[in-house]
Amino acid sequence: MSNPALGAAGGAAGTAAAGHAVAHHPDLQHHFDTLEQQKDSSSLGMWMFLVTEVLFFGGLFATYVLYRLRFPGVFAEASHHLNVPMGAINTGVLICSSLTMALAIYAAQVNRKKAIVGWLLATIVLGATFLVVKAFEYKEKFTHHLVPGPNFDPSQFTPDHARPAEMFFSLYFVMTGIHALHMVIGIGLLAWLVVQSNKGRFDSTYYNPLEMTGLYWHFVDIVWIFLFPLLYLLGYHAR
């Protein structure tokens, strides 16, 4: 805006590759005035993406509410087949991973570059732990014939409850499956951040990729915060 140096740089960039003649932070893109403006723009953009994610998962939650209102007893009965301790442990694991993610960003803010890598690795380990526990849960569902489809065993349910129970497990697998897919993508992003942080690319002046991946990671945590009580704790008192 009122920065003459930037104005000059913009003009020079128009004619030749001399745009970099003016000294500025290597990660400041030319269409931004300051690093702070750039960070605010990134945050807004990331949140816009997260709004679409909220509505994407929102459609699944709406489906869940709809079927549950229709078959409240069946959903409670089907929920009894989910493993509450495993779900609870995984909730704790995800909250820990959100903390380590926040600490990675904190490390960048206080210029502790080695700590960034350490906290990112901790986040990856916790994320992977979640997926391993989830894999054990899925395996349990397969061996108990609770996966919707030809191998679904209706005899485990009260007569007339089997079909809507199958619907419960369809929702369970779609919702937790898409959540797990988000986790896998998140771990991929974290791995890339580990490489970048290891090169010393992030410090208190610039850590946008850390912040944006953090927003994504915490969002995925929030989805699980809702999935856990809605899927696992339904009718828990009646077990």
């Binding site: 960070k39 997260l50 709004v51 909220v54 229709r70 909250i95 409850h161 809507p164 953090g214 008192h237």
Partner: protein, 133 residues
């Protein structure tokens, strides 16, 4: 502007502790039969946890007004999405009564297949025609 606040560890640790306590609370409370209140308590705890994550871990407390507005907007649209859908599905019986027509399947497309005896099979063209007389 946005990131003027000094980074501090304390809020992270406090929020983390609160999230862990609330997770334990939601499991313990679910052990008791509170009737319809079970769902309300579970959702109040989940919304509280989500709010803590959004405000502190996602730094929305310190974000620009525009970002904060976007976050509020996402919640609003989610409420519309679920709320308006439920308005439709939960009042179909009522609108049928106003019309004077018999109660029909709420249109989940399940017919009698899902073993729900309360649901009548969707009327064929003949019944629909008869109703209009």
């Amino acid at each position: 502007m946005s990131s003027e606040h000094k980074p501090s560890l304390k809020p992270y640790i406090l929020v983390f502790a609160a999230l862990m306590v609330l997770t334990a609370a939601t499991v313990v409370v679910a052990k008791f039969d509170l009737g319809a209140a079970n769902d309300i308590v579970a959702m109040v705890i989940a919304v509280t946890k989500a709010t803590l994550v959004v405000l502190f871990f996602m730094h929305v407390k310190y974000s620009t007004r525009l970002t904060q507005l976007t976050v509020i907007g996402s919640v609003l649209w989610l409420v519309f999405l679920i709320g308006v859908t439920m308005m439709d599905y939960t009042t179909r019986r009522m609108s049928d009564e106003v019309r004077g027509a018999p109660y029909e399947a709420p249109g989940l497309g399940l017919g009698g297949q899902m073993g729900d005896a309360a649901v009548a099979v969707a009327p064929g063209p003949a019944t629909a025609a008869a109703r209009h007389e």
